[in-house]
């Protein structure tokens, strides 16, 4: 029996989600009284995982594994899982992890539940709570196989320090197979992504045009936040699709979500529902978002946002 996590890294640095997974995995491993093993790829120093409860790392290092490839990474995770008798795999909700999970599920003959929001309610049978109906509801799901996979929702559990002695072992590299070749990767650098952000600032039609987006970007800069937008804004081409959050766009599960000039259609609210604290700034007091938010400001975004930026700068300098 063992719990396995795939600790994601980028540019030789562990991602934030790796520490959340480690914390979740440690809590589960304590209950099951078993090891918590992390698999890392091309990461020179995995030692910080021991601060979050990982007691064993299997490290795969090879030029063929320098970029994430679902098939290749999957082959190595499967061989680790089989070798050390893993019965539970915990993955994040990143784009890569969601790509990987169903492939692992078939290879390991494992049950799989995505979007899990809490520790298992029971271990025999393994019972988890997850979101469904695009965050409009939860369901309780039993995973029935000998090996199972949990996909943990971002920010659902948080990272909690717990020092554990760590051993690191190199994993054996399997030859690369499959026809898939990465041709190019276009990445916005120096910007916080929606997936990694603690705070997301979102703009809607109330901003009147793409030329006014500096308001959203400036507010995001002050708070170290990612930027997002509502569906009409991406449909009109004011902002790229990748920023669209909502039922058919990206789900957002962040600590603080600030919506500026977003009315709050049911599809938008579903997509951001998992966020912990919601703030709405809108000049229409009847906007549905006010019914879904924790804090609200009724006012003109073009006056409120610059004023808020000034006040936040003062607050941060004080």
């Amino acid at each position: 029996m063992a719990v396995l996590i795939y600790a994601e890294s980028e540019n030789n640095l562990l991602k934030k989600s790796a520490f959340e997974l480690a914390s979740y995995g440690r809590a589960v491993a304590d209950k099951k009284e078993c090891d918590l093993i992390a698999v890392v790829f091309n990461l020179s120093d995995p030692s910080s995982l021991s601060e979050y409860g990982v007691n064993k790392v299997i490290s795969y290092e090879d030029p063929t594994l320098s970029a994430f490839k679902a098939h290749e990474y999957g082959v190595h995770l499967v061989s680790t899982a089989k070798e050390i008798n893993v019965d539970l795999v915990v993955l994040s909700s990143s784009a890569d992890a969601k790509y990987l999970a169903p492939i692992l599920s078939v290879a390991l003959m494992a049950g799989y539940a995505s979007n899990v929001v809490a520790l298992p309610e029971s271990y025999a049978p393994l019972t988890v709570k997850r979101t469904c109906y695009s965050n409009k509801a939860f369901n309780t799901t039993i995973l029935k196989n000998e090996i199972n996979i949990i996909g943990l929702s971002n920010n659902a559990f948080g990272a909690h320090k717990k020092s554990t002695p760590l051993s690191v072992k190199s994993g054996e590299i399997s030859p690369s197979s499959g026809s898939l070749q990465i041709e190019k990767v276009e990445k916005v650098t120096g910007k916080v992504t929606i997936a990694d952000a603690d705070i997301v600032i979102s703009g809607g039609r109330g901003l009147k045009g793409p030329e006014n987006w500096h308001l959203i970007e400036d507010l995001a800069d002050v708070l170290g936040a990612a930027t997002a937008c509502s569906k009409p804004v991406s449909d009109m081409g004011w902002r790229p699709h990748s920023e669209h959050v909502g039922q058919t766009g990206k789900p957002v599960a962040t600590n603080l979500y600030i919506a500026v000039g977003v009315s709050g259609a049911i599809q938008h609210l579903a997509g951001i529902n998992a966020s912990k604290v919601k703030v709405v700034i809108n000049n229409d007091p009847e906007a549905p978002f006010f019914k879904a938010a924790d804090y609200g400001v009724v006012g003109d975004a073009f006056e409120v946002v610059p004023a808020l930026i000034e006040k936040l700068k003062k607050f941060q300098n004080s």
């Binding site: 790509y99 169903p102 492939i103 979007n115 939860f138 799901t141 026809s179 990465i182 409120v304």
Partner: protein, 248 residues
């Protein structure tokens, strides 16, 4: 080129969600069902390949007779034929196995399924199907070109876009961006009339296993009232975010 688009029949995005039978069943009462939006982006791209590259487009659903209006809509949009695997599924692996059985008889070059359905949100069917078939797989797909036996596909990654090339057969997890919202096809009267004549074949299910079981549903706890802050008193908002919500 033979294309299959896997269709999930889901509640309309504006639906209010309720449960019955002691919170163990979804309440279908008064709910409009639609093509799962992620599947519809995929279907629209498939129709593009049909019109520009002469592809044959089939659609398939795993479900009982209640999903037939949605399949007819796919035919009205332009799909050439439809299949319904006659089984009301209870988990994603079961769906993937049923689709695998169908695909093994048909030799599709390209199989498209939405990256996730907007009801179960499992994000598993296209990936599991690719693994069961041993095909290439790209999910969160936002661009797709096919030439000869090669595909070039782009997928949305956290903070960017990655473009890959691979061999056919290929399974795609479709999403918004694969086609623009404005390119979605609204069936016209001619399409609707033609759809009535197109084949919709009901296939008996094969024996499959389930790996999960939903035992209970619940809705999020109702929220408290919003706290309104005066637009001229934003210090109060900062104070609330710092000291009450503890998020900045």
């Amino acid at each position: 080129m033979k294309i299959l688009v896997c269709i999930s029949n889901v509640p309309d995005t504006t639906s209010k969600i309720n449960f019955i039978e002691g919170d163990t069943q979804f309440d279908r009462n008064g709910i409009q069902f639609i093509i799962n939006p992620n599947d519809e982006f995929g279907l629209t791209r498939a129709i593009w390949f049909q019109q520009k590259q002469g592809a044959e487009v089939s659609v398939v659903s795993v479900g009982n007779a209640s999903c037939e209006p949605t399949l007819r809509k796919c035919l009205a949009i332009g799909a050439d034929r439809a299949f319904r695997v006659d089984l009301e599924p209870t988990d994603g692996f079961q769906v993937a196995q049923q689709l695998q059985a169908h695909c093994q008889n048909e030799n599709y070059d390209l199989i498209i399924a939405g990256r996730e359905s907007i009801d179960y949100n499992g994000s598993m069917v296209p990936g599991m199907l690719s693994a069961l078939l041993g095909s290439s797989f790209v999910t969160n797909c936002v661009a797709l070109e096919i030439t000869e036996n090669k595909a070039q596909a782009s997928r949305e990654i956290d903070g960017g876009i990655e473009t890959v090339s691979c061999d056919l057969p290929l399974v795609i997890g479709a999403q918004k961006g694969l086609v623009e919202e404005k390119d979605l096809i609204i069936p016209n009267m001619r399409g609707i009339m033609q759809a009535r004549q197109k084949p919709l074949e009901v296939i008996p299910p094969t024996t499959t296993e389930t790996r999960s079981e939903v035992i209970h549903y619940e809705k999020p706890a109702p929220r408290g009232e919003v706290k309104l802050v005066d637009a001229n008193n934003l210090d109060q908002l900062i104070d609330l975010l710092q000291n009450e919500a503890k998020v900045i």
